[in-house]
């Protein structure tokens, strides 16, 4: 029990001492996961709204596949991206494996189904009425998509925050495509995993606390915004 308490004390010290390594790891995590979440949102949200309001044959099957993909394991995404980016892979000439860009690509692919699925479900349940009103006022398909995004922005922001939480907390994909290289591709989760296997608990606990704080700050900001709105 003592070593756990000791771990916590040292973790708090590490956080408040603004340890350079901790700052680098946290900054890289935020940059990679934020970039991936923004990219995934830009791609998925308009498409999810479009398919959410569109009536087409096979929509039930489409919905099931969409919801299944939401829980795709991060190691599978990491593996696929690693195969594609490996020297012998079709995108090997880009020389991206074990870089930050590869981590962003992997996390983007990981959270696209999540943002898409959540926004698609939201639009299916609440977009119909907005679409009808938009149509009666003269909106075309693109106007309607923009209107629905604006009307459901708080819920969509919550979806984005959920996607960010998934991105920043996953370990499988970034470990495979980033390689956990110190000072270059090492992020919070890969460090926690490594420190745990090395028995260095203070660092692991410190990064765990920071991960929770990041999540708390983001969700608090969205909560405050939704209250104002």
């Amino acid at each position: 029990m003592d070593y756990i308490l000791q771990g916590f004390k040292e973790a708090i010290k590490l956080i408040f001492s603004l340890d350079k390594e901790v700052i680098n790891i946290v900054s890289l995590s935020i940059i990679v996961s934020t970039s991936a979440t923004i990219l995934a949102s830009l791609i998925s949200i308009p498409l999810a709204v479009y398919f959410g309001i569109k009536k087409f044959k096979g929509k039930r099957l489409f919905s099931r596949i969409t919801y299944t993909l939401m829980s795709i394991p991060s190691v599978i995404v990491g593996l696929v991206v690693a195969i594609l980016l490996s020297r012998r892979g079709p995108l090997g000439y880009l020389d991206l494996l074990y870089t930050k860009k590869a981590m962003i690509i992997a996390q983007t692919l990981l959270v696209i189904p999540l943002v898409f699925g959540l926004t698609y479900g939201l639009t299916k349940s609440r977009g119909d009425l907005i679409e009808k009103v938009a149509f009666t006022l003269g909106a075309n398909r693109w106007d309607t998509i923009i209107l629905i995004i604006r009307e459901l922005k708080i819920d969509i922001l919550v979806n984005i925050a959920t996607a960010f939480s998934r991105a920043i907390s996953e370990v499988g994909a970034v470990m495979i495509v980033g390689g956990n290289i110190k000072g270059y591709t090492r992020v919070i989760t890969t460090t926690i995993s490594m420190m745990n296997s090395m028995g260095d608990y203070p660092m692991a606990i410190a990064l765990g606390i920071i991960l929770l704080i990041i999540s708390f700050v983001i969700h608090s900001l969205i909560y405050s915004y939704s209250q104002e709105d």
């Binding site: 009425l129 907005i130 009808k132 009103v133 149509f135 009666t136 006022l137 003269g138 909106a139 075309n140 106007d143 209107l147 604006r150 009307e151 709105d229």
Partner: protein, 203 residues
């Protein structure tokens, strides 16, 4: 806008909910549609508005089938209006912006319609937080502001106070008289149909 309906049939699963051999809605007139619950009044309105395309038969609008140009000339006010999570002004501004009007044209139009419906004081209020009567006035203002050729109203005065009903009815009449726009109003209230309608259809 003249509406001609021929051999219209609508089914929900295997149940027939609408069966109209022939019906013409005259241009420039107010037509009241009344009838008991479940007789298909709202369904008919949704079909005319182009919101429900799953039917048999034909509908023409001044001789044309429904297309984007036709749809742009008509609008529907729902029984429970959905107002956007913006100010009242921005709600009414929306259809004008869609039609590419510039700000200098938009503002006087909105101020005029707000005055007519006696809701100038609500201009900067968040529309989705208004009462039922206020919401219905804003929804009507949003529909009237672009002078549609066909105005479809689904129970526009249900559950609102008599004073608001008087204002809404007055503005519906004024719209019809001043612009010559065709109006179809679905209502339970036969008295209201008689007050407003040039013609009453009982379903």
């Amino acid at each position: 806008m003249e509406i001609k309906i021929n051999n219209l049939e609508k089914y929900y699963d295997s149940r027939k909910v609408l069966d109209i051999d022939s019906l013409t809605i005259e241009k420039g007139k107010i037509t009241g549609i009344t009838g008991p619950n479940g007789c298909g009044k709202t369904t008919l309105l949704n079909i005319i508005a182009g919101l429900d395309k799953d039917y048999k038969g034909s509908i023409t609008y001044d001789g044309l089938a429904l297309n984007r140009q036709v749809a742009d000339k008509m609008t529907l006010v729902f029984q429970k209006p959905y107002l956007f999570k913006r100010t009242v002004y921005e709600n009414i501004e929306y259809p004008l912006k869609l039609r590419g009007m510039n700000k200098s044209e938009i503002r006087p139009r909105i101020l005029d319609i707000l005055k007519r419906l006696e809701i100038e004081n609500l201009m900067e209020k968040k529309a989705h937080l208004l009462s039922g009567g206020e919401s219905q006035k804003v929804a009507l203002a949003r529909a009237l502001v672009f002078n549609p050729e066909l105005l479809l109203l689904d129970e526009p005065t249900s559950n609102i106070d008599p004073e608001a009903i008087e204002i809404l009815e007055r503005e519906i009449l004024r719209f019809n008289q001043e612009t010559g726009g065709t109006v179809i109003i679905v209502t339970h209230n036969l008295e209201q149909s008689r007050r407003l309608g040039h013609r009453i259809i009982e379903m």
